[in-house]
Symmetry: C2
Subunit: 237 residues, 2 copies
Amino acid sequence: MPYELFYWPSIQGRGEFVRLALEEAGADYVDVARERGLGEMSRLMEGEGTVTPPFAPPFLRDGEVVVGQTAAILHYLGGRIGLAPRNEGARLWTHQLQLTIADFVDEAHDLHHPIASSLYYHEQKAEAARRAVDFRETRIPKFLSWFERVLELNPGGDKHLVGRRTTYADLSLFQVVEGLNYALPRTMEWALQDSPHVAALHAAVGERPNIRGYLESERRIPFNDDGIFRHYPELDA
Amino acid sequence: MPYELFYWPSIQGRGEFVRLALEEAGADYVDVARERGLGEMSRLMEGEGTVTPPFAPPFLRDGEVVVGQTAAILHYLGGRIGLAPRNEGARLWTHQLQLTIADFVDEAHDLHHPIASSLYYHEQKAEAARRAVDFRETRIPKFLSWFERVLELNPGGDKHLVGRRTTYADLSLFQVVEGLNYALPRTMEWALQDSPHVAALHAAVGERPNIRGYLESERRIPFNDDGIFRHYPELDA
């Protein structure tokens, strides 16, 4: 039975971290809301047919199991689709990296929505401009330099975040860099110069055959002004 | 060997979710920065003596294992100290609840810091006042009503979030309610009327002997204006 991914059908958003893992693994999956509409997704969130209703998309159904929270989905899937290490300690470390990526993604979202997700960007533009300064000058360098150090310290080599093989954390770091390159191209051009291993990982993941095929397919939703990563030039350096 | 918790010594913050679990379990632990200063914590974050440097406190050391990210620490500890279910599916659900609590906590922090953590509250007071409206009217009710539904749907009964016994998720939900009661007392008085099971869980956890003893001890750092939950009356209803 295919994995069933439940996520908004018109954005990459947080669901994209799961899509990338499923695509890299060549796993059999259904992107439910894109193929069958939003009804099932809403009903599961309301607790119909499950005693573990997810708080928000994305969530994954695998037979009887329903699991929400992007990092928990990847922790669940990782070992099953060959994108997490077998060793328990290394698996926990991979999960920790993903949770830190999730924090980075939250901040990338709040960059354009510092006041409320329920308001439009144009209603919080002044506050976003102020938040952008700190995000560009403090937060992006702090996150990127940490990932750079993790790559340098990896006993399996600086090509991967964990061990000697690609994990879902590598794919997720690719997606954050891809998203920020789109959203803040001028900032990222400078920032990546200080994080050469992160830049190299981003390039290498983009060249992996399954990822490349996916990115070129119709399944990859283009970046747009509804997602997490948005190109508002006034927020860039 | 005792567990070693690394966290800022003068605030409850995110470390408090780990402290509550260790206290409830009666586990042997050292609150390292409070007992031995900040040096070791800084060195570990810089990657000295570990190839898995945490991004930020809190983190836990258990012999050779260093684990960061509050939810991952609790996921690691839960089974070892008797505060997580044995069943794998139930354990994943407990972790998912904790990750949603973490999201709620992030928003409770950004309530008073919508622009940047590196700025003082008084430098972002106007933006905080705007953010507070949405947090009080939309976000608190959304999170509390979800936890209320989770309690109602729990096949083990509405006294616990998961199964029939106290898990670290129950303790963490207690802490969020405790923190918001302190920060936004007028808002919470109304909000909890719509979430009676959440209110009952909060009261019951506070009466557990080990938790009560801890809350009355010197080990419990009082709420203050440096932590996540701050009482700024102008942000309350």
